[in-house]
């Protein structure tokens, strides 16, 4: 893309549509008007193709803004003001309608007849099939994510005719349809991609890495890795309501202090993913959206591989010793939701839920005295240097509190590159902080990743036969199944009693806006540029 866009044809591109504001050599500030929005972020976009190995999280936004999926989620207001996607409502994007067979094993999608790629070609079922085949074949993250919805091999996808696309499932699952709305299964222009594929590279990974070929709401006008990405509206988009903003500039600014100054001055309209501290302080000055991240909990994890933590009383003693409120204020500046001091009796299946634990040192001491370790023990508490902004203050407060019940804690800081290996793959850290968040917003999905034995985010080496069985049973079960709620409640009961993960609080994603509105929170925690408007 960068190579293809020379100054000349870029300006031509601008001149082509009268509505498109060309980049001028020097554009007076006032002329920026409502046509252009500038967003700053600290994260780096390193590929325009989500399916590529090593694509960073920040790059997922290209998959969202430049490509369409068959379906998308609806929108709902969030309790704290602002908007959020709605997991309960599936809306059409490329698909006009869809039907499910009675046994739930066949999904039939009708594509919108007027949907076209940026090069003007009609979007066909063959494109959908090629894109899905690619996602399940390239390996790595896209393949894992597809599998979560029961989409595992190319044979499951059938292009019946130009506008009819069929998915055959091995078993009916409530996760399939939502999994089609996550960023991964997006639809690429297979003709354009194949024209640029080679024998060694049958999926055109190299081409699509720098040149998106989609049908989405925005095209990439310019991409300079490490500096900026410029989106330009695709006026022929039929996937939803046409975006109000013609051009969106995503600028990478590593220093949070600089991002803050920029949005406060109003030179940029959105600062995406700002630190909790800045969010708390900026809230009075500009619009700040702090949305609790769905299905995500910051936890303290006692590892069952470490002997003292096999004692249930020790784990409970820790849960009563933690200074929850102090942590919430010091680490999150009150942004997010508390996860302590709830009812013990479980009456609903909302997750994350408040635990029945609260800070009570006397109770903690009693539990310690009754455990097999009345004199305490020593344990390292591991944190990641990359996530130090919340982990460090949390760890210090935990260290102080556990010291009062006889557990001597030494804080061990692990470099970011090593963190995932140590905590998730080797699962060797006796006591550590962890923050898994599931994309698909159901409790069973969280349990699948975080509480089932051997799964990546079960960093505590927890295994409970009943939880294994219940998670397997509920994972694909419809949520209105009469058996679902009792099973989920039982799962909550077990893990909150056994505490392989001690929930601390639900974190928030903070976004500051100064001159823009319409921001929507999405589970993928990236900026969906499509609903944005300038004010």
């Amino acid at each position: 893309m960068t190579k293809a866009t020379t100054r000349r044809n870029f300006l031509k591109m601008g001149a082509a549509g009268a509505s498109v504001l060309p980049f001028l050599r020097a554009m007076p500030a006032a002329a920026q008007g409502s046509d252009t929005l500038v967003v700053v972020t600290g994260a780096r976009i390193n590929s325009l193709d989500l399916h590529r190995t090593g694509t960073s999280r920040a790059s997922y936004q290209v998959g969202i803004n430049c490509y369409d999926r068959l379906v998308s989620f609806g929108t709902k207001p969030t309790p704290g003001g602002g908007l959020s996607y709605d997991y309960e409502v599936i809306e059409p994007e490329l698909a006009e309608s869809w039907t499910e067979s009675d046994d739930g094993l066949t999904l039939t999608f009708k594509l919108k007849p007027n949907a076209t790629f940026w090069d003007g070609r009609k979007v066909t079922a063959a494109d959908v099939k090629w894109s899905f085949d690619r996602a399940v074949s390239v390996g790595g993250f896209p393949t894992v994510q597809m599998k979560a919805g029961g989409l595992e091999r190319p044979g499951q996808f059938i292009a019946v005719d130009e506008e009819t696309f069929v998915i055959k499932l091995d078993r009916a699952s409530k996760l399939t349809l939502p999994d089609l709305a996550v960023p991964v299964p997006y639809v690429m222009n297979s003709v354009e991609a194949l024209a640029n594929a080679t024998e060694e590279d049958p999926w055109a990974m190299e081409y699509l890495h720098t040149t998106p070929a989609g049908s989405g709401a925005y095209k990439v006008a310019r991409w300079t890795p490490g500096e900026q990405l410029v989106y330009e509206r695709n006026d022929a988009w039929v996937g939803g309501e046409l975006p109000a903003v013609k051009r969106i500039v995503i600028r990478e600014v590593p220093s949070p202090a600089t991002r803050r100054a920029l949005v406060e001055r109003g030179d940029v309209q959105i600062a995406f993913d700002i630190p909790d501290k800045d969010a708390a302080e900026l809230a009075d000055v500009v619009d700040v959206f702090s949305t609790p991240v769905e299905n995500c909990i910051h936890c303290l994890c006692p590892n069952f591989a470490f002997e003292p933590f096999q004692d249930a009383d020790v784990r409970k003693a820790i849960a009563y010793a933690i200074p929850y409120e102090d942590i919430f204020q010091a680490a999150a500046y009150g942004r997010g939701l508390p996860m302590w001091g709830g009812e013990e009796e479980i009456n609903d299946i909302a997750w994350p839920r408040k635990t029945q634990y609260y800070t009570d040192l006397e109770k903690a001491k009693e539990l310690m005295a009754g455990s097999s370790y009345p004199d305490g023990f020593e344990v390292p508490l591991s944190i990641s240097l990359d996530l130090a902004s919340w982990m460090e203050p949390t760890a210090l407060l935990v260290q102080e509190a556990l010291g009062k019940i006889g557990i001597t804690v030494e804080i061990e800081k692990i470099p970011g590159a090593n963190w995932r290996t140590a905590v998730l793959v080797e699962k060797r850290l006796p006591l550590h902080l962890e923050n898994f968040g599931g994309w698909l917003n159901t409790p069973d999905y969280y349990f699948f990743w975080a509480y089932q034995d051997g799964h990546l985010f079960n960093s505590s080496n927890y295994r409970n036969e009943e939880v294994e069985e219940l998670t397997n049973a509920t994972l694909h079960m419809a949520m209105d199944d009469p058996e679902y709620a009792p099973k989920i409640k039982r799962m909550f009961e077990i893990v909150l009693d056994e505490l392989p993960r001690i929930p601390l609080y639900q974190p928030a994603l903070n976004v500051a806006a100064n001159g823009a509105e319409g921001y929507e929170f999405w589970f993928h925690r990236q900026l969906d540029s499509r609903p944005l408007k300038s004010v």
């Binding site: 980049f23 894992v144 600028r251 220093s255 001055r265 030179d267 990546l456």
Partner: protein, 344 residues
């Protein structure tokens, strides 16, 4: 020609001498990156990975092969001019370096020139008028420059000139988003824009440079000014200056022709050193001003064990310093004819 030009011969000899250094750098940078903690396959396998997808990522990155095999692949690619593919930026390391090294050099050189223009006269003035207000001013500036860390000066300058006064442009990197990059010739925006005759972009790039260059200059001022002052004091108190004064030469001639020229040698040595640590100090300034330079690139690559990028960076730096040392040696002979290459 070889025999007739000792300087050329010496230059070729120096370049030849640097070959073992470069080979050593290649081996050491390879081994050091492998010795880093962390498993890039795990990191790049993405948010929701399982054992299988981590293994797939490892194979895709070529990290499943034995170390010695990886090394030969690396050297083989290197010989063909291929520095590998950076995973953090998603581009080839050579492209990244070609884009980012000039960004850092433009910033560093601007800062250095700014520092020299201020520090050298300041040093000379302080040496000729020791104990006066100029000398004290020099001392204050030098102390402040050394003691203020660059990221602090950077944020302070942004706060005052951008946030409060609003006279500096948005600290958004090399060019505000309303400009297009000038066509790539040297990679130095000021030069490229001037070559195109696009003065609007030139002004835009220059405006963006002012704050970060000032930040770095404040930091580099100190050693240059100190060294100039000390070298001038030594030169001014030496016998040949006394002789020159006795011979009745004018003050100006003594100062610039005799004292300053002799004082230049240590100043140039310091400049070489200052240049190298300024490139290092760049990292923080680049972060604060969102400057897409080589320092922040290397740090980010290092944090996630992006082997190819780190190796490419170390290699580029090694070559840069070989060149820098050569330039400084050549400068010596130009400044002081007594230093010849004949002694080698």
């Amino acid at each position: 020609m070889f025999a007739t030009s000792p300087r050329l011969r010496a230059t070729v000899l120096r370049v030849a001498q640097s070959i073992p250094v470069v080979i050593g750098v290649v081996i050491i940078s390879f081994l050091l990156t492998r010795a880093l903690p962390g498993d890039p396959a795990v990191y790049f396998a993405g948010v929701a990975a399982n054992t299988e997808s981590i293994e797939q990522t490892r194979v895709a990155m070529g990290l499943d092969k034995p170390l010695i095999h990886q090394f030969f692949v690396y050297v083989g690619n290197l010989l063909q001019g291929d520095l590998g593919q950076s995973l953090t930026s998603g581009r080839s390391v050579a492209t990244d370096l070609a884009k980012r090294l000039p960004a850092s050099l433009e910033l560093t050189l601007t800062a250095l020139i700014l520092a020299i223009v201020i520090a050298v006269p300041l040093g000379v003035l302080a040496a000729t008028r020791p104990g006066t207000w100029v000398d004290h001013l020099c001392r204050v500036i030098v102390t402040a420059g050394v003691s203020l860390p660059t990221f602090f000066t950077g944020i302070l300058l942004i706060y005052i000139f951008y946030y409060l006064l609003g006279i500096a442009p948005s600290p958004l990197g090399r060019l505000d988003f309303i400009y297009l990059d000038p066509d790539h010739v040297t990679g130095f925006y000021l030069i490229d824009a001037a070559l195109m005759g696009d003065w609007e972009t030139w002004r835009g790039a220059a405006k963006q440079l002012i704050l970060p260059a000032t930040t770095l200059a404040l930091f580099t001022l100190a050693p240059i000014a100190r060294m100039t002052r000390a070298a001038m004091l030594t030169a001014l108190s030496s016998d040949f200056i006394r002789t020159a004064r006795a011979a009745g030469l004018s003050n100006r001639t003594i100062l610039y022709r005799y004292a300053f020229r002799n004082a230049l040698l240590p100043v140039v040595t310091t400049l070489g050193m200052v240049f190298s640590f300024t490139l290092g100090a760049n990292v923080l300034v680049e972060k604060v001003f969102a400057w897409p330079g080589i320092g922040s690139y290397a740090v980010e690559a290092l944090v996630v064990s992006d082997y190819a990028a780190v190796q490419g960076f170390v290699l580029a730096m090694a070559l840069l310093f070989v060149a820098l040392n050569l330039v400084i040696d050549l400068l010596y002979t130009a400044i002081d004819p007594r230093i010849g290459f004949s002694s080698k």
